[in-house]
Amino acid sequence: MSTVALCWSADFAVSQARCVTPARMKTADNLDPSAANLERARADAELLRRIARDDREAFSQLYDRFSRPLYATALRILNNPSEAEDIVQDVFLALWEKAASFEVTRGSAFAWAVTLTRNRAIDRIRMRTRRAELLSQTTAEDAGTQPSDAGPDSATRLLFKEQAGTVRAAVAALPPEQQRAVELAFFSGLTQQEIAAQLREPLGTVKARIRRGLLKLREILGGRHD
């Protein structure tokens, strides 16, 4: 997991808020996950501050950093590429409009963006009442278009890959029952009772699995950012 943090040296993230070069990645080889998270959060916050001043370039960079996980989340929840893009578009416009209201003390920009995306996707899925149909489907396939050469630069794509690898490994490290409970809770938009019914387990068991799963993820991924 340490390779994920390579690109997030404090100087680079705060002053430039840009993706790092491979050379600088190597210098941060020993950065621990919590420190990497902290640096990434600071870089994101700086981008938002610039966006609040109508900085188009900062918006472009933030899009490159957030668009794939946000889109993947929306796609996983909605299982519809077109609707997932609509959600991502709405979220980025919201970030553009509300960047000035972002407070770093209340959490990271990334968590804010994910929360916006997830809430809007869940609202939409509930509005469509397609829950049963979507639940019957298993793992969402990667229906999105692969990034073109005109997309994020290679360093950003590398960062994304590292992040994705880290998180997938963390999820895979969870016991299967915790993994299933956490995934359903995060991506399905179901209530506690509906998750318990879906898993055919008592509600208390499901709650305990979610608790243990999230605590384990925090332990692996290093949750504290401030």
Partner: protein, 323 residues
Amino acid sequence: MIDELHEELASLYVLGLLEGDELASFQAELAHDSALQALVRDLTESTARLAYSVPGSPSPALKARLLDQIDTAARWRAERKIVPFSVPAWLPWAAAACLAISCAWLGQLYLASRSENALLRDQQTLAEFELSSARNQLKAERLIAQHEVSSATGQLAAVDQNLKRAQQDADDANLQLASAQKLIAARDLQLAQNSERVAELEAKAAHDTDLANFKISTLASLLGNSPQALAVAVWNPARQEGVLRVEKLPALAADKDYQLWLVDPQYPIPVDGGVFTVDPATGEARVTFKADKPIKSLAKFAVSLERKGGVPKAQGPMVLLSQ
């Protein structure tokens, strides 16, 4: 130190799975618990990174659309910006004058407001007093009404009890009346029977006392030594009894009695009518007698002198005989 329950609630909260009272309660705790806030932040951050665990990339056109949109928005914002202009030298003085006038006006307004406020406070106090008074009066009226209702209820209960008692008395009286009516009917029946009986008895008595039916005879002496002896006998055939009165009969010896005899043709010998004695001084006697046997048709009376106590069949000399 955060317990498992709060860890669980924080996990569910981060995932948006708390609802209703559970959510409100947790949010209330969260607002005052910095450790819980830190846990929620940590879990939010690590959970948000689950977004990296699923595949998917938006189309390149999306970024272009977004950049176009924000360019449009930026231009619109720029167009709304106010163009700066040069400030005339007199403007600060004018502004100061306006400010002074405004301050004076606001001060006056403030004083007027204070005065009005005091008046309103007085009115509010008065209104509160009136409200309190009205509440007290309402409370008193409610208490009086409750008391009256309670009293009326008690009276109603008493009246109801009296009514029940009167109904019971009426029922008892009706029973007694029915019993008395039965008794009267029984008495009337008995009276009617008694009246019938009285009538019968009166008829019988009339018959018995009818002198026309009586047998009255005078008895003449058959003795030479007492020719003046006289007797009258009256026989009531209905009552089968009679009365004999004698005068001047000779005095009896100690071992002798006079014995009355009744002659009825249906019997071969005279029927015994009983023994009697006379007053030795006057020779008088009054004797009520009855026949020894039923007499149908009395023909004669006779008196004989017999031994003391009488005999079943006349043996001694005949002293008197009806004419």
